[in-house]
């Protein structure tokens, strides 16, 4: 057996003994066809999500970071079956949901919700806050009007808004408050799993902190499991238990957050971390910080480099990197990395 097969077997074994896994994704792929020519034939595939596997435990927050175009949002949408996977499996609470029909998915959607990035685009401007928060209940439950109203009220107070806000419309609120409405809407059905797709990146820092604190409080009180997608590494570090770094549709590195931030193994993670401007009151330590910034642009996802997709920007790339695609292998306990430097 190769080390890869071994690690897969070990992983599979752990999975079968672990009952607290809420989400499990296996070899998930999502390819978008690229059409061209006069007859709009498919002339290529854009591999937005390319063979991704991971698990999320109950009550855990898995952070996903990556630059724009890395496929992190597509991954979130495929897991929720808002997009159909090209290949691979998604297990939710032990059930394979990757091939369910729309109708079969409906009862499951109660338990999996999403909060989007732009609270200006994701709320219907013609519905009042009350209607917006009640809408999921109307679709998913058989509660009476009064019960729905009561639930919406409870939820809106949980996210820090007032009863009087129920009659107002989205345009009357600031960005941070709108994001609170989006969160109320996602949580009113008491889901088990919430995907947060860049929930704070449209907000100012002081408001961002309010929303992040709220999300942490709600997670503790309601026992939620989060998949937290963001491009801001410091935000992801703050909220996550484990972090996965994506690059061109693949996971470059996945590890418990302290292992990832204190001991990044993949050159891409190392470069990302040293690219972030950090607040440093001590000017000396700035010079000591390892300066390794990534050069160049993200290659086109429609035409990624052969072998390791990061090799065009990697300072350590050698011949092997252009020939062979590195597999995601466990380097330390729970710390997986896809890089030839470690094999």
């Amino acid at each position: 057996m190769t080390s890869l097969e071994q690690s897969v077997v070990v992983q599979a074994h752990q999975e079968s003994t672990n009952n607290d896994v809420l989400i499990e994704v296996q070899h998930l792929k999502k390819y978008f066809p690229i059409k061209g020519g006069i007859f709009k034939r498919t002339i290529g595939q854009l591999k937005a999500v390319d063979d991704i596997s991971f698990q999320i435990h109950k009550g855990e927050t898995l952070g996903i970071v990556g630059e724009s175009g890395s496929g992190k949002s597509t991954l979130g949408r495929v897991i929720l079956r808002l997009l159909d996977p090209t290949d691979g499996q998604i297990h939710f609470n032990g059930n394979n949901i990757s091939t369910l029909t729309r109708r079969q998915m409906n009862p499951i959607r109660r338990d999996m919700q999403i909060v989007f990035q732009d609270p200006f685009a994701s709320l219907n401007s013609k519905m009042s806050v009350g209607e917006l928060v009640e809408e999921p209940l109307l679709v998913q439950t058989s509660l009476s009007k009064l019960e729905r109203r009561q639930k919406a009220l409870e939820m809106i107070e949980k996210v820090g808004l007032r009863q009087t806000d129920l009659q107002k419309y989205p345009h009357e609120f600031s960005g941070g408050q709108r994001q609170r409405i989006s969160i109320a809407r996602a949580l009113v059905l008491e889901p088990k799993f919430v995907i947060c797709d860049e929930p704070v990146s449209a907000l100012d820092v002081s408001i961002q902190a309010q929303v992040l604190n709220l999300m942490k409080d709600l997670q503790e009180n309601l026992g939620l499991t989060y998949l937290f997608i963001a491009h801001d590494l410091s935000v992801v570090k703050h909220i996550s238990d484990r972090v996965a770094v994506m690059y061109l549709g693949r996971i470059a590195e996945i590890a418990p957050k302290n292992a990832l931030y204190n001991n990044p193994l993949h050159p891409y993670t190392q470069g990302l971390l040293s690219s972030i401007p950090v607040i440093n009151t001590d000017m000396e330590s700035k010079k000591n910080r390892e300066i390794f910034k990534i050069s160049g642009d993200l290659p086109s996802p429609a035409n990624p480099p052969s072998g390791c997709t990061f090799r065009t920007r990697c300072p350590f790339a050698n011949e092997r990197c252009s020939m062979e695609r590195p597999e995601l292998l466990e380097k330390e306990n729970g710390h997986f990395v896809a890089c030839h430097l470690y094999t």
Partner: protein, 329 residues
Amino acid sequence: MTKQPILDVDQLKTYFYLEDKKVAKAVDNISFSIFPGETVALVGESGSGKSITALSIMQLINKPGRIVDGTILMNGDELLQFSTKQMTKVRGKNIAMIFQEPMTALNPVYTVGNQISEMLRKHKKLHKKDARKQSIKLLQTVGIPRADEVIDEYPHQLSGGMRQRVMIAMAISCEPKLLIADEPTTALDVTIQAQILDLLVEMREKFQMALLLITHDLGVVSEYADRVMVMYGGQIVEEAPTRELLQNPEHPYTKGLLASIPNMQDDVDRLGSIKGTVPPAFDFPKGCRFSTRCPFVMERCNHSNPDLKEINSIHSVRCYLHEFWGGGV
């Protein structure tokens, strides 16, 4: 010897006259100076008036906005007295500006070369051929690979980072004394952000410009600025050299901002946050503009707005707390 500032803004007020006789005091009584070769950061949240400050310096304020009062001195010349024609010569030549979204700042129907050459031909009176040669050189200076091909490409053919490089090439084409960068990297990914900011600093040194960096990111400030001005509600609430400000923030707003940012070094369970939101510019509180969100608000703060006062030779704060603790009065 004290150096002469290249830009001296004094008591600048830019108001927007809205419907229902509302007046938005977007920039309200701002004074500051920028010295040759320094990087000054203007920090604040959306709606704090930092972009309007920059646009006021360039005199790019449109109706219903108007520069109501104040002076803007550049090398001793009063810019607000300049005619439109005179001002056109200042823009791009003496003061250049780059914007947040390079796609909207570049003209989509002209090639990159066309847009850079235009600057050179207008301000430096170069001939077409020379301008083109110079443009290619500029593109190489800002680190664009295959500059001789890119010059004939259109903005949509370039990535966000490349477009911002083109913007920088245009901005430095006439070797301005002051470069205003309004959130130059907010639309870019973090790896590209680092490249662009490094480039800006490199260009600043090469052409000995001063850089006014407008940003909301205190991390960027920490790594790139020499001096910081924190804006809130159209006013500067704190000003100090970067290190001093980050080590000893004195205004409750600055303190709150710093506590709101997730720290990469140590873990905290909950972030510090500032309650409430920035009030709209037409509806500022009567006294101190931060009084509605301040955790230390006092009776006096509700009635009168404190002045920006020096608490030591390098650090100024607009807050009444310092008159008690700092022993000002």
